[in-house]
Amino acid sequence: ISAEPTMHGEILSPNYPQAYPNEIEKTWDIEVPEGFGIHLYFTHLDIELSENCEYDSVQIISGGVEEGRLCGQKVSKNPDSPIVEDFQIPYNKVQVIFKSDFSNEERFTGFAAYYAAIDVNECTDFMDVPCSHFCNNFIGGYFCSCPPEYFLHEDMRNCGVNCSGDVFTALIGEISSPNYPNPYPENSRCEYQILLEEGFQVVVTLRREDFDVGPADSEGSCQDSLTFAAKNQQFGPYCGNGFPGPQTIETHSNTLDIVFQTDLTGQEKGWKLRYHGDPIPCPKEFSANSVWEPEKAKYVFKDVVKISCVDGFEVVEGNVGSTFFYSTCQSNGQWSNSRLECQPVDCGIPEPIQNGRADDPENTLFGSVIRYSCEEPHYYMEHEEHGGLYRCAANGSWVNDELGIELPKCVPVCGVPTEPFKVQQR
């Protein structure tokens, strides 16, 4: 017999209060509204007694589990109550089955039972705790709530903490799990990011003793875990008591995502890490004909060096020559101005002089030598002792040992006629 859910009802054995018939089986499917339990109680019970109620019985089954099997005669032990037997069913459905066999010789009157919907305390009536933190019962249901600073997840059962969103941009810092060193919150996912200026790589240091996250399960999977992700690389997930990873993790990235995931159970003290930004190194390039200042064994991001050309060399940018240039170690590990190099100073084609010429130079680079000469025999070189030799100097000028950058002068030869005057003797 089944019916629409009701808040209460009566069940009577067949022919009650007359003797029940032989060989009969009757079932009642009782249902109260959802969220309620059922209080089923017997006020009269008179059923043939047998061992384990094998002959005749009334059986109470809820959720496939037999809550009870009754037979015999029972009287109330409480003079103020007519109830001889009762059951508190924490579900809203119960099945009552009455059976009689064929062999009754005595007269048994059966049973009278009543049921009423009762409130179930979902918070305490079940083995499984329905809320991760606080459970609040009400008639027909329950709701969960959370301690301060926790929030209720969408499943309306579990509490978590708002621990995500922190972005660490300082070049050095410390990050720890929520509440560290007190137990971290369960059922939470904390996402952090270290975001450093380009040119620095994040280096994480985590001491073994600063890590206590729930152990892995029998299959080796972490229930709670700490994971690092940087530029196509992942470190972790890590769990356990004592950090199992390397003490120092070089990420080769200026950003690092940190995810700390916890499950519902097992709250340990958590973890604490330190990080710092390690400037990206630039190669110490060997460059002939130049001097780097300052001289260092290793150059890193943002280092600025003055690259000075040695004597006789210069760096040419556009049409402008200079004896030095600055280069900066960039965020990509490359030097700025790397296309510039010290090259030999070019003195260019020597300036022409009046009444003389310079030899065609083989080249005009630093250290080259040219010789000026005068148009002989009508000109000669003034102050000839300097020899007319000019060397391409470091400053880009043709320089003579005696005259410096002053050009030689070709002065006319005086007083020497091409043809001597001959007096014609008569």
Partner: protein
């Protein structure tokens, strides 16, 4: 030139031709011409050529025309006298600064200046050369350059020459130590040769090398003895002026 011979400009490559007045000068540097003050007096832009033996216009074009930048007459030159009656030729020396440098070569080359030592003091008997396109025994001037060799002689010789110019009184002529007298046996400079160099051979070098000991200045009578401005006495002024205007 009296008593001279035709000459090539290659023998006197320092010889400068003044077209007006018809006269000479001596090239002493790429930018400087030395001449007599009376040649350039009152003339700020004389027309000059170098490098040509003949001074016909078509030949002159083969030489180099010189362009004047400035004319500097010696401050001791007494200006303003009529040349026909002038009796004082003291300090008859001037410099002409050229705008453009002269290109030297076989036909154009400067004459040296005298040193300041006593070796460059002309002595009687020293043989020198003169050149020019001036008057000869036969012509008032010549087209083809002529030259002559003549000795230095005493200033008295020049003083003793009988006056030819009736307008001037013999005793009025001024003779100073700034003058050299030279000439013999009818070899002399004459009108039109003024400003040209009286060239003596440098005593200090083995290779023949000439310096301007004098400048053709004046004379009482052509064909006797001529007076030349003694260049050595003006070396201070010449060098200072050249330096000042360079």
């Amino acid at each position: 030139i009296f008593g001279g011979y035709p000459a090539k400009i290659q023998s006197f490559p320092w010889q400068v031709f003044f077209q007006y007045p018809w006269a000479g000068g001596a090239l002493i540097d790429e930018y400087w011409v030395l001449t007599a003050a009376h040649v350039v007096e009152g003339i700020s832009d004389p027309s000059m050529y170098v490098g040509s033996t003949t001074v016909k216009m078509e030949h002159l074009e083969n030489g180099q025309k010189l362009t004047t930048e400035r004319v500097i007459i010696h401050p001791g030159w007494k200006a303003g006298d009529d040349l026909d009656t002038r009796t004082n030729f003291d300090n008859d020396i001037a410099l002409v600064k050229l705008k453009d440098p002269v290109k030297m070569g076989p036909t154009v080359s400067p004459i040296c200046l005298p040193g300041t030592t006593s070796e460059y003091e002309p002595s009687e008997g020293d043989l020198g050369l003169i050149s020019g396109w001036g008057r000869t025994e036969r012509r008032y001037n010549v087209i083809h350059l002529r030259g002559a060799k003549l000795p230095v002689t005493s200033l008295e010789k020049c003083q003793q020459v009988k006056e030819e110019n009736p307008k001037a009184r013999a005793e009025a002529y001024v003779f100073t130590s700034n003058m050299i007298c030279a000439g013999e046996k009818g070899v002399d400079s004459c009108q039109g040769d003024s400003g040209g160099a009286f060239a003596l051979q440098d005593p200090n070098v083995k290779v023949p090398k000439f310096y301007a000991a004098g400048l053709v200045s004046w004379g009482k009578k052509c064909g006797t003895y001529g007076i030349y401005t003694k260049v050595k006495n003006y070396m201070g002024w010449i060098l200072q002026t050249m330096q000042e205007y360079s």
